[in-house]
C-alpha cells in the first residue's frame, strides 16, 4: 500500500441509478486494488443492484438532474430515460467498464464484502432467493457499523 492512511472503506449504496451504482462499485474496486479493505451495504433502492431480476436493468434518470442539460419536460417524455441509459452504457463499455452483474462478480472475487440491509429487505418483501448468490449476508445497520473495526475506516453514503 502507498502512503494512504485509509485502511477500510464502507460504502452505503441507497440508490439504483447507474451513476450512483457505478460510483460505489468503482470506488470499492479501486480500494481493493490499492490494498484497502472494502464493503458495500445495499439499502433502500440500492438493493435493486443486487436483485437477480433487476440488476441488469438499472436506469439513468433524465429528470431532476441539471447536469443532463435537458429540459425537465423533454426528459419526461417516454423513451428518454431508456435512450439516456443506452447512451451512457455505451460510453462506459468503451472504457471497458463491466456491466453490473460482472462488476459484482469482480467485487466479490476481489474480497469486497457485499451486504444487504435487513430493514430494506423486509420493507421490499425480498427473500434470499431474490438476491445474487455472492451476497455475504443480510445485516442491520448496527452490524454494519461493527464492520468499521480498524483505525482508518471511512464510511461513505451514496
Amino acid at each position: 500500500m502507498g502512503k494512504t492512511k485509509v485502511k477500510k472503506m464502507l460504502f452505503i449504496l441507497s440508490k439504483a441509478t447507474i451513476d450512483s451504482v457505478y460510483a460505489a462499485f468503482i470506488m470499492a474496486n479501486g480500494a481493493r486494488m490499492e490494498g484497502i479493505d472494502a464493503d458495500i451495504f445495499f439499502t433502500f433502492f440500492g438493493l435493486e443492484a443486487i436483485q437477480k431480476k433487476k440488476l441488469a436493468h438499472l436506469k439513468q434518470p433524465t429528470v431532476g438532474n441539471p447536469a443532463m442539460h435537458m429540459p425537465t419536460l423533454l426528459g419526461g417524455l417516454p423513451g428518454m430515460e431508456a435512450l439516456a441509459t443506452k447512451m451512457m452504457l455505451k460510453e462506459m463499455e468503451k472504457l471497458d467498464m463491466p456491466p453490473v452483474g460482472e462488476f459484482l462478480e469482480i467485487l466479490s472475487d476481489s474480497g469486497c464484502g457485499l451486504y444487504a440491509c435487513k430493514l430494506a429487505v423486509d420493507m421490499f418483501h425480498l427473500e434470499e432467493k431474490d438476491l445474487i448468490d455472492d451476497i455475504d449476508g443480510v445485516l442491520t445497520i448496527g452490524d454494519f457499523y461493527n464492520q468499521a473495526d480498524v483505525d482508518g475506516t471511512q464510511i461513505v453514503f451514496i
Binding site: M1, N29, G30, G35, D96, M97, E105, I106, D109, S110
Partner: protein
C-alpha cells in the same frame, strides 16, 4: 540492482533491464515469495504490455490465465500494482 533505472514508486523505467533476478529482488521488497504461478502471471502481464494492451482487473478475469481470487492471493495488498512492478512494466493507469 544499482544500475537498474526505477521511478519514485519503484517501477522500472526501462523494461529491457528486466531479468528474473531483478524480479526476485523487487518481489523480496514487496514481501512476495515467487512460485511458478507468479511467473506465469508475469509472463501474461509482459505479453499484454508488449502488445500495448491496457491492463485492468476485468482483463485478468477474462485472461484465462488466473482468476481474480487467485490473483489477490498471489499478490496481496494491491495485486495489479505489485505484479506490474515485479514484471518490470509501468503501473496501470486505469481506474478499473
Amino acid at each position: 540492482m544499482e544500475n537498474i533505472k526505477r521511478n519514485d514508486e519503484g517501477y522500472l523505467t526501462d523494461f529491457s533491464q528486466w531479468t528474473k533476478d531483478v524480479a526476485l529482488e523487487i518481489a523480496k521488497e514487496e514481501e512476495i515469495e515467487m512460485t511458478d504461478r507468479h511467473w506465469e502471471v508475469l509472463t501474461y502481464l509482459q505479453d499484454k504490455y508488449q502488445k500495448e494492451e491496457a491492463l485492468s482487473i476485468r482483463g485478468i478475469k477474462k485472461s484465462g490465465v488466473i482468476s481474480i481470487k487467485e490473483f489477490y492471493n498471489l499478490f496481496p495488498g494491491g495485486p495489479l500494482k505489485k505484479s506490474t512492478k515485479i514484471a518490470g512494466i509501468p503501473k496501470p493507469k486505469s481506474c478499473i
